[in-house]
């Protein structure tokens, strides 16, 4: 019954959105925000690739290139991928999947969105102060000395960190306290497990980034010298602090994506997920190990060799729970009744690209090899295979999958598949050559290169256009669905998790009657 009252038409007007305490509406606010920033970050990426089409200074100056690179990184990391899945899809679906009426602290949930907006606004203030050219990692001592708006971006990231902390805190409490009657931890959908693991990282790692950025701000404002070698400080300590957050942060980015893939694979294989507990525990396992691998970003920073060996070993351990997930997904598909709707295409794209990203990650964890390709395009390619090939594929697949539930409308299947083709092929055309460029020794982060790298760079730039076209198609498919899409019934995919047992779109308090759980989350029989 999609005619009746639902969360979308229950109240009207801008203020009913800006002051809403409904987790679903806050999820939509995040969706709009994240998409806007994604567009912005994407434009910077396309401009960078355009500059790299030919060697030499062509389109933009070297200084401007450095700024574009910083904006692309900072926007995509802090404003797109980190809030992307947890705060948008997680906010919307975590309470639905555990049969709750809302998250535990709705006001804090809204506050987290405002933290993101205020933080982003503060970061954008840097544009009035010559921009920022430090890269998204703000390495000292350059970030202390460089004469521009670094302080604003640092403070902005600090504020956005609170958004992440508050979301994580909210999710942990929600999962512990608000599950429906009869739902134990092992009746929770795997997306919830992954969000729970993510939330642990958000709560425990982000405060360390907060203090690091505060110290960096104090460094710029008062010259406290803690990270400044001129005053006896240690810039490598900054790297330790920064990566103590930022490595777990890449699991903040990928874990919820894995959760989406678990949902998609099982739904479109019409089959109970294989190895439920293994997948659930591997999420927690990745979260736990993630705190002990930060040093692999610093193999050439001068940290002790023994520490390097230890970090190398622990980093390889991450491969174990990750591989457990991949094998279980493949095993789930085995002998399933697979339907290749767009979400499933994206899920398979994820599997393909993420495995490449993961295996090259193991290569990079190897000390000797890492020294060889450190700071080259190999690292860029690896990172993008995981973050774009992994997280963005998952978020797009998840968007199509849950669009009918969120808005009560179906999207156009044909064009959704076309968008997949563009993004998947374009992605490989863009980033696979970068592995080769890295092997050949092309360093990352420069606006220029020697002519020997030209053909592969041109291929890469052409690929970036395909990705761009792909996401434009995604945008129009979503727009068309919202405006003219067919009405969706409450469960168009025949999925069994709780969110599909209520109306599309769901009513204000999610369920007409409080759900009772009597079976596992993926019982298709």
């Amino acid at each position: 019954m999609s005619e009746g009252k639902n969360y979308l038409n229950e109240k009207k007007g801008l203020s009913s959105w800006l002051f809403t305490l409904d987790h679903k509406r806050i999820g939509i606010l995040y969706m709009i925000t994240v998409f806007t920033f994604f567009l912005l970050g994407g434009v910077f990426a396309l401009l960078m690739r355009l500059e790299l089409f030919k060697p030499g200074e062509n389109l933009i100056s070297a200084a401007l290139y450095n700024q574009f690179m910083t904006f692309h990184g900072a926007i995509m990391v802090f404003m797109v991928i980190i809030p992307g899945i947890p705060a948008f899809l997680g906010n919307f679906f975590l309470p639905l999947q555990i049969g709750a009426k809302d998250v535990a602290f709705p006001r804090i949930n809204l506050l987290s969105w405002y933290c993101l907006i205020v933080g982003a606004a503060v970061a954008l203030c840097s544009l009035f102060f010559n921009g920022v050219d430090t890269g998204w990692t703000f390495y000292t001592p350059y970030s202390i000395r460089t004469d521009n708006g670094t302080l604003w971006v640092v403070l902005g990231a600090f504020i956005m960190g609170f958004s992440s902390i508050l979301t994580g805190l909210n999710f942990i409490v929600t999962v512990h306290k608000l599950r429906a009657k009869g739902m134990g931890f092992f009746q929770m959908p795997l997306f919830v497990w992954s969000l729970y693991s993510t939330a642990i990282i958000q709560v425990l790692a982000t405060p360390v980034l907060a203090i690091t950025l505060l110290l960096l701000s104090a460094e710029r404002l008062m010259g406290i010298g803690i990270f400044d070698p001129k005053l006896g400080g240690d810039p490598v300590l900054f790297q330790h602090f920064f990566w103590f957050y930022s490595h777990p942060a890449v699991y903040i980015m990928i874990l919820p994506a894995m959760g989406i893939i678990s949902e998609l694979i099982t739904t479109f294989s019409r089959k109970t997920i294989f190895g439920y507990k293994a997948i659930a525990f591997s999420s927690v396992g990745i979260a736990a190990v993630s705190f002990f691998v930060w040093g692999h970003h610093m193999f050439v920073s001068g940290q002790s060799e023994w520490v390097g060996i230890l970090f190398s070993f622990i980093t390889m351990l991450v491969g174990v729970p990750t591989a457990i997930k991949v094998f279980n997904w493949v095993a789930t598909m085995y002998k399933g009744s697979i339907k290749f709707d767009a979400p499933m295409l994206y899920a398979n794209g994820f599997l393909f690209l993420f495995v490449i990203g993961g295996v090259t990650g193991i290569m990079l964890a190897t000390l000797a090899f890492d020294v060889h390709v450190h700071d080259t395009y190999f690292v860029v390619a690896h990172f993008h295979y995981v973050m774009v090939g992994g997280t963005l594929m998952a978020i797009t697949g998840g968007l199509y999958y849950w669009l009918p539930k969120m808005f009560g409308r179906m999207y156009n299947e044909f064009w959704a598949r076309i968008s997949f083709a563009f993004i998947f092929i374009g992605f490989n055309v863009t980033f696979f050559p970068q592995f080769i460029l890295g092997f050949m020794g092309m360093p990352r982060r420069y606006h220029d290169y020697t002519p020997v790298y030209e053909p592969l760079n041109q291929l890469s730039t052409a690929g970036s256009w395909m990705i761009g076209v792909g996401f434009v198609i995604v945008f129009f498919v979503v727009l068309q669905a919202l405006l003219k899409g067919e009405k969706a019934n409450s469960n168009p995919w025949g999925a069994v998790t709780l969110e599909w047992q209520t109306d599309s779109p769901p009513p204000h308090e999610n369920f007409h009657e409080a759900p009772m759980i009597t079976k596992g989350p993926y019982d298709y029989n």
């Binding site: 009426k101 998250v103 535990a104 602290f105 512990h176 608000l178 425990l204 405060p207 400044d228 308090e509």
Partner: protein, 216 residues
């Protein structure tokens, strides 16, 4: 709004019971305290590393601090934690006025602490014992790296002082709520959460005091 209405706390719509709400709020508060510990943890780790790197400057730096003032502040905060805990005890016993009195005493302790901190800061800044690049003390010969000690001193006590201020604001808010008779023997979750926060702020000082004032 009549006073009888004000006394009754309504459980938020998405909770099933007051018990569920209370336990959720407390879990949330404990998680928040974890984030606080990790945030200060960064500073403590930095302290340990630099103490190992430059032990001499930490020894010299501590001689510029007045341990008596530090000890006074420690006592003040410990007393404030006691009065904070007592205020919750009195609410549990239904003695609202005594609870308010205890909260006011806690707030007073906060003011004393910040007053002493102000005296310490202004005295040091007057002498030029400022952090890092702003350091300009020349009266007696000092070690080359001494400004770094004061960077830690100001960052650690400064961030802590900021937390004391936030705690004082929260306690003030609790006094208002208690004045409006919002708490009763079965509902006092906000007070308990503020109490937890205040105890953590106290606890952090217990570590800061010996690390900064009593180094040997």
């Amino acid at each position: 709004m009549t006073t009888t209405e004000a006394k009754i706390h309504k459980v938020a719509h998405h909770f099933e019971s007051a018990r569920q709400e209370e336990s959720a709020c407390k879990l949330g508060m404990w998680l928040f305290l974890c984030t606080e510990i990790l945030m200060f943890g960064g500073l403590f780790v930095g302290y340990v590393i630099y103490k190992r790197m430059y032990p001499a400057i930490f020894l010299q730096g501590a001689t510029f601090l007045d341990w008596k003032l530090g000890a006074l502040n420690t006592v003040v905060l410990l007393v404030s934690s006691l009065t904070m805990a007592l205020s919750i005890y009195y609410i549990q016993k239904g003695k609202n006025n005594k609870a308010i009195l205890c909260l006011c005493l806690t707030l007073l302790c906060g003011f004393i602490f910040m007053g002493v901190k102000y005296l310490e800061y202004s005295h040091k800044l007057h002498l030029g014992l400022a952090p890092g690049a702003l350091f300009s003390y020349t009266e007696t010969p000092t070690l080359e790296g001494l400004p770094l000690y004061f960077s830690f001193y100001y960052c650690m006590t400064g961030l802590h002082g900021l937390h004391v201020l936030v705690g004082m604001l929260l306690i003030f808010w609790m006094i208002i709520l208690a004045g409006k008779k919002q708490f009763n023997t079965s509902y006092y979750t906000p007070l308990e959460c503020v109490g937890l926060f205040w105890h953590l702020v106290d606890l952090i000082w217990i570590y800061l005091f010996p690390l900064l004032y009593l180094v040997e």
